[in-house]
Amino acid sequence: MPRFLSPLANVQPTVYLVVAGAVFLLVGSLDSARFASLTVGGVGVGAAYGSLALALVLIYRATHVINFAQGELAMLTTYIAYQLVQWGLSYWEAFFATLAIAFVLGTAIQVTIIRPVQHRSVIGTVIVTVGLFILIDGIASWRWGGIAYAQLPSPFGFGAWEVGGVPIQHLYAGMFGIVLASVLLVWALFRFTKIGLGMRAAALRPAAASLAGVRVDAMLALGWGFAAVLGAVAALMYEPSQFSGLTPTLMQTALVYAFAAAVLGGLESPAGALVGGLAIGVFLNMLAGYAPQVVSLEVPFAFAALLATLLIKPSGLFGQSQVQRV
C-alpha cells in the first residue's frame, strides 16, 4: 500500500466495518428524519446493552465464566435505587449510592458464593450464577414485585433538542453520555492505576501475577464489583426507556441482547462489547421502525447474530483469532 497509508496496516479490518457503519448511519440520518430518530433511540438503548455487555466481558476475561445473573443483579440494584428515592433521596444521590452498593454486592457475591466454586469447574460456576439468577429474581419479586407501575424519576426528563428537524431526546443522549462516562472511568482505572494493572495481570495469567505479589482472589472480587457497577449503570439508564417501567423482568431481554453484543464484540474485548451493544441497539430499533411485523423475532435476530459470529469468527469482531485446536 502507498506509504502515507502504512499506519493503517496495523488497524484491524473490523474497525473499517465499524467506521463504515457509523458513516452509513450518519448519511442516513442526514437524509431521513425518521432514520435519524431511530438511530438516536437505538444508540441510547444500545449504550445500555453495551454497558451490560461490558460487565459480562469483564467477568469473562478474568474468570472465563459467563455470569447469567448479571442482568438480575442490575435489576436488583435498580430497585434499591428506587427504594432510596422512596426514602427521600434525590435521584442523583440515589444514583451514586446505588453504584456504591452495587460494588459492595458484586464483591460480596464473588467472595461468598463464586470463590468456593470457581477453582473447580467453569460449568459449575455458571450453574451457580443460574441459581443466583433465580434467587435474585425471587428476592426482588418478593420485596417489590407487588408494586404496580414502579418507576424511577427520569433524570433527563422527556424533552428533546431539535437538530435540523430531528428530535434528539435528552433521555437517549443522557443514556449514551452516562454509559460513555462510566466506561471511560473504568477504562482509565484499568489502564493507569496500579490496581488496574493488577486486575489485568490477574485476568491474563493468575499464576504469574501471583508470583509478582498480586492477590489474585482479591482482584477477581474487585472485578465482580466493577462489573456490578457497570450493570447497575446499564439498568438505571435502561429503565426510563421502558414503557413497563421498573419490573422484576426489566433486564431479562436486555441480558439476552447483552450476550449477543458481548459475543459480537468478542468476549475478551471491552471496546467490542460496547460497539456490539450499540450495533444491536440500532439494528433492533431500525427493525422495530421499518419492519414491525417481525417484532417477535427480535430476540431470535439478536441470537442469529450471536450464532453467526460464533460460527464465522468465534473470537468476535474485535477479538484476536485463536489457534485452531483439533
Binding site: 472465563h64 466454586v117 443460574v130 439468577f133 434467587l135 425471587g138 468465534p314 483439533v326
Partner: protein, 341 residues
C-alpha cells in the same frame, strides 16, 4: 452408565418402587411422578452429551419444544396415535440434533453454551411467528383419543389420565435407559469417553471426533424430543410456547449438574430436584407463594453446586470409597472446561 451391569439391585428397587407408586399416591402426585419421568429422560440425554462427550448445552429445552409440537400437531392434524408421535419426535429431533451438532463442532466450552442458549431463547418464539400452523400464543391442542396402530389402552385407565401418562413416561424411561446403557457400554461409549477425556488423544487414537460428537448431540436431542412429547401429553395434550422458554433449558442444565455423571440414582435425584422442588417449596412459611419458591430453589441450586461439585453421583462415589475404607480422594469428574490459563 458404568461398564459393568448397574447393580441389578438398584434397577430392581427403582423399578419396583416406580411400579407401586401410582397405586399409592394421590392423583396429583402421580402427575408429578410423570413429570419427574419426563425430566428423567431429558436429563439422561444431557448426561450423554455433557457427561460423556463434554459438550455443554443450555439449549435442550428447544428440542423438548420441537418434540412437543410434533406430537401436538400430528395429533391435531392427523389424529395420530400419541405413542407413535413419540417415535416421530425421537426421529425428528435426532436428525435436527445432528444438524445442530455439526456446526457445534467448531465451538466449545462457553461459546457452545452461548450458542445453545441462543437456540433455547429463539426456538420457542417460532410458534409466535408461524402462528397459523403452530398456534401462536394460543398453542396447539392434541386430540385426546389414541387411535390406529399401537393403541395402547390399559384396562380401566383412561388415555391421558395421570396414571396413563405415568405409565407411558416411565415405561419409555426404562426403555431409553436400557438403550443408553447399551450404547454407552459398547464401542460408541468408549469413543464418547475418549472424546471427553482428551480430544487430541482421541484423534490420535483414530476416533473420528466429528462423528461421535455429532452423534452424541443427535442422541441427546432425540431423548429431549421424547421428553417434550411426554410433557405435552402430561399437559392434557396442550402445547404452548410458554412452557418451553429458556427457563426450561436452565432447569435441564441444573438437573444434569445435580445428577452428576453416570449414576442411575443421580439422574433420578436430578429429575426429582428439578421436577418436584419448584412445586413443593411453594409452601414455605413466612414467604410463601411463588417468590418464596424461587428464593428457596435458587439457594438450593447454589448450595448443591457448592457442596456437591460432582452432583449426586459424585456424592455416591465418595460415600462408596469411604465405606470401602479407602482414603484416596475420588478424582472429581470435571465437566468440560473452557480453555485453561
Amino acid at each position: 452408565m458404568r461398564r459393568r451391569l448397574p447393580a441389578l439391585g438398584s434397577v430392581a428397587i427403582v423399578a419396583a418402587a416406580l411400579s407401586v407408586l401410582p397405586f399409592v399416591l394421590s392423583d396429583y402426585n402421580v402427575y408429578l411422578g410423570a413429570e419427574v419421568g419426563v425430566f428423567f429422560i431429558a436429563i439422561l440425554g444431557l448426561n450423554i452429551l455433557t457427561g460423556y462427550t463434554g459438550q455443554i448445552s443450555i439449549g435442550h429445552g428447544a428440542f423438548m419444544a420441537i418434540g412437543a409440537y410434533v406430537t401436538a400437531v400430528m395429533s391435531r392434524d392427523h389424529g395420530t396415535n400419541l405413542v407413535l408421535t413419540m417415535l416421530v419426535a425421537f426421529a425428528a429431533c435426532f436428525v435436527i440434533g445432528l444438524l445442530v451438532g455439526l456446526p457445534a463442532l467448531r465451538l466449545s466450552g462457553v461459546s457452545l453454551a452461548l450458542a445453545t442458549f441462543a437456540l433455547a431463547v429463539s426456538v420457542p418464539q417460532l410458534p409466535l411467528q408461524w402462528s397459523n400452523y403452530l398456534g401462536g400464543s394460543l398453542g396447539v391442542q392434541a386430540s385426546t383419543k389414541p387411535s390406529g396402530l399401537f393403541g395402547i389402552s390399559m384396562p380401566g385407565v383412561a388415555a391421558l389420565s395421570n396414571q396413563w401418562i405415568y405409565g407411558v413416561a416411565w415405561a419409555s424411561s426404562a426403555l431409553l435407559f436400557g438403550m443408553a446403557w447399551l450404547i454407552l457400554r459398547g464401542r460408541v461409549g468408549r469413543a464418547f469417553r475418549a472424546v471427553r477425556d482428551s480430544e487430541i488423544a482421541a484423534v490420535a487414537s483414530g476416533v473420528e471426533l466429528g462423528l461421535y460428537k455429532t452423534l452424541a448431540f443427535g442422541i441427546s436431542a432425540a431423548y429431549a424430543g421424547v421428553a417434550g412429547s411426554l410433557f405435552v401429553m402430561a399437559s392434557n395434550g396442550f402445547a404452548q410456547y410458554q412452557d418451553f422458554l429458556v427457563v426450561l433449558s436452565l432447569q435441564l442444565l441444573i438437573g444434569a449438574a445435580v445428577a452428576g455423571l453416570g449414576s442411575l440414582w443421580g439422574i433420578l435425584v436430578g429429575a426429582a430436584f428439578v421436577g418436584l422442588l419448584p412445586k413443593i417449596s411453594g409452601s414455605v412459611p413466612l414467604i410463601g407463594s411463588d417468590n418464596g419458591r424461587d428464593i428457596v430453589y435458587g439457594l438450593l441450586v447454589i448450595l448443591v453446586m457448592l457442596v456437591l461439585p460432582g452432583g449426586f453421583a459424585g456424592l455416591l462415589a465418595r460415600l462408596r470409597s469411604l465405606a470401602r475404607g479407602l482414603n484416596r480422594e475420588s478424582i472429581p469428574v470435571k465437566l468440560r472446561e473452557s480453555s485453561s490459563q
